[in-house]
Every structure is written in C-alpha cells, then in structure tokens.
C-alpha cells in the first residue's frame, strides 16, 4: 500500500512539475511586492519579513490548490480511484504528499532568499525554514479539504480562498511568531513544537475530512 502511494507520488509529481515553477515564482513575486509598496527601511523590513514570507507562502499554496482535484475530477479519474476502495486512502495520501512536494517543500527551501531580501539573520532564516517545512504540509492538508468541498461548488477560486484561509490562520500565527520569538531571543521551540503537534493532528484528521468532501462531491 505504501509503495503504491509512493509510486503515485512520483507519477503525479512529474505531472505537476511545470506547475511547481509557477508556485515558486508567485511566492517570490508576492514577497517582492511589499517593499515596493512602502519605504524599504531596514528596520521595517526586518519587522515585517517573517509575516510577509508566511502570507506569501499561504497565498502561493492557495494558488496551487484548485489544480489538486479539479483535473482528475473532470476526466473521471477521481471517481475511478474512489471505486478502488482499498487503495483509495493510499491514493489520496499520495496525492497530498505529491502536492506538498511540488509546492510547500520548494517554497520552504527558497524562503531563505526572501529572508535575505528582508535582512533576516541566519538564525531567523533557519527558524523560518523550519517553520515552513512544518507548516506548509498543514496548508496542503487544510487546503485539500477546501479544494474538495469546492469540487461540489460552481464558480472560481474566491470561495476556495474563503474556505481555506481562516482555517490556516493558526499556522500563520505560530509560523511567523516562531521567527519573531527567535529574533527576540526567546527561542522558537514552543512555536515549532506547536506546529509539529498540529501537523501530526492534521495528518490524521484532514485526509478523512478531505475524503468525505470528495465523496460528497462525486455522489
């Protein structure tokens, strides 16, 4: 079952390869907009850097969400997967992992660039990346629920954003807060552990909710 999931990962990954670039570019673009919209003072940039990075990451993952299920739902392959009930969960998990590998993971690894743009020091950047590595999977998981619900609905991505973003706020708070705590000398362990705990819980609950939403949509 696990191997089936891994194989599926790789297959989907190759399919989504080109889209991963778009997500990355979008990420860097958004983060670059903020200084352009204000006076790029060092102090200000330092203060808003973590927050901007996290919001940009959130929006980038949001951007990649509609593609998660829509294509498969349209050509009927999602229903096919659903009918093979024993492998269904493994396939869904494979999809989720593949999505993160193509969005959250690259984002986390590229984030140091933004950290440098905003003048963050090495320690802060390390915490930023660690937080993103823990947080972006959660964004994928939560976003998947919203994307699955959105399959039932007509209309575009605005509803998806409305469903997904409020639920992602805790991840945002603790991820950005971790960097600030580190910069303030308080240490980011508490924030990062909360993110880790959240990730574990989300990994258990979210796929189940996502699966229910897909079944509702395909009924």
């Amino acid at each position: 079952m696990f191997f089936a999931s891994v194989q599926r990962d790789l297959r989907l990954l190759l399919r989504q390869g080109s889209e991963a670039w778009l997500v990355l570019v979008f990420f860097l673009l958004i983060a670059s907009l903020f200084p352009l919209a204000m006076q790029p003072e060092t102090k200000t940039l330092l203060a808003i850097g973590p927050g901007v990075t996290w919001v940009s990451a959130l929006l980038s993952v949001l951007l990649s969400m509609p593609r998660m299920f829509a294509a498969d739902a349209q050509d009927g392959s999602l229903e096919q997967m659903l009918l093979q009930s024993e492998a269904w969960m493994a396939m869904l998990l494979g999809k989720l992992v593949a999505h993160w590998l193509a969005s959250g993971l690259p984002l986390s690894l590229v984030a140091p660039l933004i950290g440098l743009q905003y003048g963050l020091d090495a320690g802060a950047i390390a915490v930023l990346v660690a937080g993103l590595l823990l947080g972006t999977p959660m964004l994928t998981l939560i976003g998947a629920i919203a994307a699955a619900l959105n399959l039932s609905a007509r209309g575009g991505g605005a509803l998806l954003a409305l469903l997904m973003l409020p639920l992602c706020i805790p991840v945002l708070v603790f991820g950005a807060g971790a960097v600030e705590a580190q910069s303030a000398g308080l240490g980011a362990e508490a924030h990062l552990s909360l993110l880790a705990a959240g990730l574990i819980i989300a990994s258990i609950l979210a796929p189940w909710a996502c699966s229910s939403a897909i079944k509702i949509a395909l009924d």
Partner: protein, 269 residues
C-alpha cells in the same frame, strides 16, 4: 412513497424521531415562533430597562459602557449559534436527515448577523473607551475570523445547486470550522499576548456590578429566544421550498395564515 405514508411512518416512536420529518416539524415550529418572539421582546425590554435605568453609571467609562448589553450577548450568541450549526451538521452527516441540514442552513444568517453586531458594537464601544474603533485584541479578532467562517458556510451553500449535496458539504464545513474555532482562538490569544504593548486588553474589564451582570444575562436570554424564533421561521420557509407541497399542513392556526390550498392527501392532524 406516498406522502401520507411518509407522515404516518413517523407517528409512532420516540418524540424526536416523530418530529424528524420536516413535514411533521413544520406545524410544531409554527406554534413556537410567536411565543419565542414574545419572550425575546419581553426579556429584551427588561434587560434594557435594568441596563439603562437601574444599572449605575460606570465611574471609569461613563455611559458608553452600556453598549456592553448588546455587544456581549451578540458575541456569545455568535459562538453558540456556530456550535449549534456544527451540532446540526454532525446530525445531518451521521443520521443523513434533511431537517438537520435545514436547521443548519436556517441558523447561519442569524449567526452571521450576531457576529456583525458584536463587531460593530465592539467598535463603537472601543472608540470612547480606548480611543480607537478597532483593537487587535484576541476576542475581537477571533470574532472577525468567525464572521469569515460564517461567510464560508453561507457562500458554500450558495455555490452548490444540488440541495442534498449542499446539505452535506455545508455540514462538513460547519464541523471543520467548529473544530478549528478553539484552535484559532488559542492561536490568536497567543499572538495577542505576545504583542500586547501599550494597548489595553478588553478582557481586563473591571469587576462588574451585580446589576450590570444581571442585565447582560437577561439580554443574552433575549438574544437566544430571538435567534430560536428567527431560525424557526427560516426553517419553515426552507421546508416549504424543499418538501413536496402536499405533505405540509398547518395543523393548528399558526401565527401565519395556513399554507396554500388544503391538499387532499395530507394527514397533519
């Protein structure tokens, strides 16, 4: 299944299952509407009287603190209604009942209005008390996020054409939202305590005089009665929209005129 059979099927059995059929619930709801509105009006009048006439002027905040008698009940109701929505959502998914889903749909707009009132009155309480219309305090920020959660459920409902599909999707969304509300509140509180700075915390309110507390509780009860009455009216309209017309009948003279023509096969008595 014939309409009369559908109704007869629910005539025996425990009370709750008897009224689980929308058609049976319809007249019951109709009988409850006016009493609850009357209760809301009476409690509201008493609460406001105590709040404005009997409760003393706060030596710190002056008269503006009296806004709390609408602000706090609205905030509490916004949360209670969301929990109620999630409860009905759970029933709707687990028991697959139409009525539970309709109750969820009926509660959402009222809950959203309560949230809006809480935010609006909070702003107008904040201005004279702390100098700004908006304070990024944990509770007000959580209320704002709650409003977005309401919009999510309402928006999802509006975007799905198939009634049953919308029922289940909104039920799931309400449950997911409800599970997240404590987490969101915890995270916002955490975020807020770190960034306190010089701003005043809305939670560090001075000890309330007895009369103020009584007025607030009575107003909350009034808001509760109002919400129930309003949701019942709304669910009745939803039942009319969704259920076959000939199954529905007002068994007694409800406060509203009996619905439509008297259909041949109904046995609402």
């Amino acid at each position: 299944m014939k309409a009369s059979d559908a109704v007869k099927e629910h005539e025996s059995g425990p009370l709750w299952s008897r009224y689980a059929a929308p058609a049976r619930f319809f007249p019951l709801a109709g009988r409850l509407v006016v009493p609850f509105y009357v209760l809301a009006a009476i409690l509201g009048a008493i609460g406001l009287y105590i709040g404005f006439v009997i409760a003393p002027t706060d030596w710190q905040q002056g008269e503006s603190y009296r806004i709390v008698f609408i602000h706090v009940p609205a905030a509490w109701m916004s949360m209670i209604i969301y929990l109620a929505m999630a409860f009905w959502g759970l029933l709707a998914l687990v028991l697959n009942t139409r009525l539970s889903a309709m109750m969820l749909q009926a509660l959402a707009p009222t809950g959203a209005w309560m949230t809006f009132i809480a935010l609006w009155t909070g702003a107008f309480w904040g201005k004279p008390t702390w100098g700004t219309y908006w304070v990024w305090d944990a509770r007000i920020t959580s209320e704002l996020i709650l409003l977005f959660l309401y919009f999510g459920v309402i928006g999802l409902r509006a975007s799905i054409d198939d009634d049953r599909k919308a029922d289940k999707a909104c039920a799931l969304m309400a449950i997911v939202g409800a599970v997240n509300v404590p987490i969101i509140y915890f995270s916002v509180k955490w975020w807020n305590t770190l960034h306190q700075g010089a701003s005043v915390s809305l939670t560090a309110a001075p000890k309330m005089a007895q009369t103020m507390l009584v007025a607030m509780l009575i107003m909350t009860a009034a808001a509760w009665a109002y919400s129930i009455a309003t949701s019942l009216v709304r669910v009745r309209s939803l039942i009319i929209q969704r259920e076959p017309p000939s199954t529905i009948a007002d068994s007694s003279g409800g406060p509203q005129p009996a619905f439509a023509t008297s259909p041949p096969g109904s046995s609402g008595k």
